[in-house]
């Protein structure tokens, strides 16, 4: 892809995880790149490897049991595939921040919001050689400013509160404030609204949208909900069983889905104007990762699959400007 140098780039990234039953081939040849300031969504069914992809990139998947089988990851032009713990920690602390699915369990129950947020601020400044260490009062002021930035009501009081005294939406705001503490260049949001009530979901999405617009950082939003992703992202990656099957602009993807899996996903969204009978699912379920299907990983569930699909791995092909898909249908046919 042309344009500015990518902020995050994965090339042919494959990851396996040793489990009790055998080695899981979790990711298979994942390639994508994110430009600075770009907002990208990754969608797919639960268990398709969305979270693992980003978590392993920033070293949150313990290794062992995880192992990088092939490929490279680079951030801002630096190869971080084999970076040591301290380098990865510096990356996590300063340049990449992450928010998580369930705000109930991602805050430590025994420390106040203020203690946890101040701790994050201190950790981030310790990782930044240019930053002058702050005093406790300065850290508190910074924490209160961050809580204000995420529109947490009454930040002075919530600073002294324990997580169990906050609602789910408020906790998610606290987690977002933590993520913003180091002024990251890339924010990863892993199912940021899945665990919240629908009304709170909308508020959190508005907040993320506002932060994206005002702070100009790159964002990866992971979700199984195409609606969430469509509302925020200009570009969407569709993942299936550890592979990226389609990569396109949001409008383009919704109007012209190419990959049979993407079409299935879109057909599975209930629409207000359609009757219930028009709702369709994709037959079958996510394959076994220990012995994944040969060739295209989707072919056992694909209505259009042919002999070639079980034999040969599809190449990632640009089928329209900035619209990539990995399917034999667009690369000489399935037979």
């Amino acid at each position: 892809m042309a344009g500015p140098a990518p902020l995050l780039e994965l090339r042919d990234y494959s990851l396996s995880i040793d489990s009790f039953d055998g080695r899981l081939q979790v990711l298979d040849g994942v390639s994508f790149s994110i430009a600075p300031g770009e907002v990208v969504g990754i969608v797919g069914e639960t268990g398709c490897g969305k979270s693992i992809t980003v978590k392993s990139v920033i070293g949150l998947v313990p290794s062992p049991p995880a192992k990088v089988e092939s490929g490279t990851v680079s951030f801002d032009g630096r190869d971080i595939t084999a970076a040591g713990e301290s380098a990865i920690r510096r990356l996590r602390g300063r340049e990449v921040a992450m928010i998580f699915q369930d705000p109930m369990t991602y805050l430590n129950p025994l420390f106040t919001v203020g203690q946890q947020l101040s701790d994050v601020i201190r950790a981030k400044e310790a990782l930044d050689p240019a930053a002058a260490p702050r005093t406790r009062a300065e850290r508190r002021a910074k924490a209160l400013a961050l809580l204000g930035q995420v529109h947490l009501p009454d930040p002075e009081r919530q600073f002294e509160s324990y997580p169990h005294q906050l609602s789910g939406g408020m906790r998610q705001r606290v987690l977002i404030a933590m993520a913003l503490a180091g002024s990251p260049r890339l924010l990863i949001a892993d199912e940021p609204t899945t665990a919240l009530d629908v009304t709170i979901q909308a508020q959190i999405l508005d907040l993320v949208k506002e932060l994206v617009e005002t702070l100009g950082m790159a964002v990866i939003i992971i979700s199984h909900d195409l609606g969430v992703v469509a509302a925020l992202c200009r570009r969407i990656l569709v993942m299936y069983a550890g592979t990226i099957v389609e990569d396109a602009g949001t409008a383009d993807l919704f109007e012209n889905p190419r990959h049979p899996y993407t079409r299935g996903l879109l057909a599975a969204i209930p629409r207000l104007d359609g009757s219930v009978t028009s709702l369709s699912g994709i037959p079958g379920s996510i394959p076994n990762f220990i012995e994944p299907p040969q060739g295209c990983r989707f072919h056992p569930r694909c209505a259009q699959a042919g002999a070639r699909c079980g034999r040969e791995r599809p190449r990632n092909l640009e089928v329209a400007p900035d619209h990539w898909t990995a399917c034999h249908l667009f690369d000489g046919g399935v037979e």
């Binding site: 602390g93 991602y106 430590n108 025994l110 994050v120 981030k124 933590m178 180091g182």
Partner: protein, 336 residues
């Protein structure tokens, strides 16, 4: 927090009365006539009756209980038939030695057990974890009196590093009492050579006494740390670049300490009971030895007094652990 402590303190008072009631009941259903024992084998019927009256043993049970309760609460635990001294006087003489021993043993168990449990969890299933498991398994597997004998044999007799038994050397004088705890008094009086000597005497019995608690603390803390380190909030801390040391020693440990504290509280009781064996091996002039010698002489008042004191210490230890819970966990503080 003040309300939390107050409620716990009230509960402590109620439990104390319950403990006294249980002690009283047991002493009255136990076989044997204490008046007859007190009067001695050659006493006449009349002499026994006089003693019965003197101790109030002819009154109805509720009256006897009331007398006993008020006496106990005033610090009057009766008289020892064997030593002919007030039980309170005897307990005051023997209990501080036991208390000192238990505190040092518990300190050892916690200060060694908690970090070892943490390390075992962090290095789970690797060499260090296995080495620590060896320590914890052998600590439970060796009976304390046997461990005590081994320590005496190797450390004292073979190597001559530490004294065999007793609280101080025969020629050393105890520091003038302030708290009745030799280690503390020696420090307060500035007698550092006495302090060193007392410390040398207490190490081996404390190690023997702490072994089972050490094993329990290592195992509970390891299991809890492993569980806590898999919690989501640990991922948050890691994702924000907080150092591994801080994550383990602050974020995870505080969460893991809550169940570990429960184990420590229970172990206080076991330890106070275990002093009977260890004091025997190390000739430690404590309450365990005193209680055993009284029991074999059917000397009831000291046995009851010692049991009451041990029971109360156990309750007090658990009271303090309850307070520590509240301090550690804000949710518990509010729930009360």
């Amino acid at each position: 927090m003040a309300l939390f402590v107050l409620k716990r303190a009230l509960l402590l008072g109620l439990m104390l009365i319950g403990l006294i009631l249980i002690m009283f009941t047991i002493s009255h259903v136990a076989p044997g006539d204490p008046a007859a024992v007190a009067a001695g084998p050659d006493a006449t019927r009349e002499m026994v009756e006089v003693i019965r009256e003197e101790y109030g043993l002819d009154e109805p049970l509720p009256v006897q209980f009331w007398i006993y309760l008020t006496n106990v609460l005033q610090g009057d635990l009766g008289r020892s038939i064997r030593t002919t001294r007030d039980v309170t006087h005897d307990l005051l003489r023997y209990f501080p030695a036991t208390f000192e021993l238990v505190m040092v043993a518990m300190l050892l168990a916690v200060l060694i057990g908690v970090p070892l449990g943490m390390l075992a969890a962090v290095f789970r299933d690797r060499g260090l974890d296995h080495a620590i498991r060896l320590v914890s398994v052998s600590s439970v597997a060796l009976p304390m009196f046997w461990l005590g004998l081994l320590l005496q044999f190797f450390i004292s007799l073979k190597l001559g590093w530490l004294p065999l038994g007793g609280q101080l050397g025969l020629l050393t004088e105890r520091p003038p009492p302030i708290t009745h705890l030799i280690l503390v008094d020696a420090l307060l009086r500035g007698q550092f050579d006495v302090f060193r000597e007392a410390l040398a005497h207490i190490i081996l019995p404390a190690i023997a006494l702490s072994a089972p608690a050490l094993a329990a603390i290592i195992r509970v803390n390891r299991a809890e740390m492993i569980e806590v380190l898999h919690q989501d909030f640990i991922v948050t801390a890691r994702a924000h670049g907080i150092s591994q040391f801080r994550i383990v020693a602050v974020y995870a440990l505080r969460n893991a300490m809550i169940p570990t504290l429960a184990m420590i509280g229970l172990r206080f009781g076991w330890m106070l009971g275990g002093t009977v064996l260890v004091e025997g091996v190390f000739d430690w002039p404590g309450i365990g030895l005193y209680a055993v010698q009284s029991a074999v002489n059917s000397d009831f008042q000291p046995v009851m007094g010692a049991t009451l004191l041990i029971g109360f210490s156990f309750m007090l230890a658990n009271f303090m652990i309850d307070i520590a819970y509240g301090w550690l966990d804000p949710r518990l503080r509010e729930a009360q």
